[in-house]
Subunit: 118 residues, 2 copies
């Protein structure tokens, strides 16, 4: 059985988790998980990060309703990063955009490429 | 003009950069960049990370030939993470697999879902 403790966490006990839309392939966001976040995500099927600012578990969408349902969790070759394939309800970004990566560098300038959907 | 110094780096002066295949949408890897890596990537069009283990710039594919040609760089809402859309030559992973995320958690166990291509 997979044991989250076998992942490689940083000095703060965290690793980056990339959320990707399981259907479209769009990269939605990056947030952080500790071992317990990983375990809770797998157990509940609700993607659960660790909020570094609030120092608390963060069940994505718990207050906003913009939940991430886990489709599959993957780990990388170094075991220090996760890719989380999700079914995203509504926007993933707190700004109301589908993805947090809505700013592109084009012709050397920041360009907004995505409008809020909610 | 975009100034890499306006990004939010961690205490080590780094931020995570997600490399995504610009055509297929496959997430290939996650590595780290400092401000100079970001600048070099934009200037040269060759994705250039900072190797935390070697403490040196890491022009992806410089020795292996498995280069990443920059298609577009995007930043997230918090300005502390990058999404780099690339044209990947050969495997992105040092194990010879297209992506570093070749291990999935399925039925509670680690499952290899991708074979080496080179």
């Amino acid at each position: 059985m997979f044991d989250p403790a076998t992942l490689r966490f940083d000095a703060a006990g965290l690793l980056p988790a990339i959320a990707q839309d399981a259907e479209s392939g769009e990269v939605l966001m990056l947030a952080w998980m500790n071992a317990e976040s990983v375990a809770r995500t797998l157990e509940t099927g609700r993607v659960t990060y660790w909020s570094r600012s609030r120092r608390a578990f963060w069940v994505k969408g718990e207050t906003s309703g913009h939940v991430q349902e886990l489709v599959e969790m993957r780990l990388d070759c170094d075991r220090d990063c996760l890719l989380v394939l999700v079914r995203q309800t509504g926007p993933a970004c707190h700004t109301g955009r589908r993805s947090c990566f809505y700013t592109a560098i084009r012709d050397g300038a920041e360009t907004e490429i995505m409008a809020p959907i909610a």
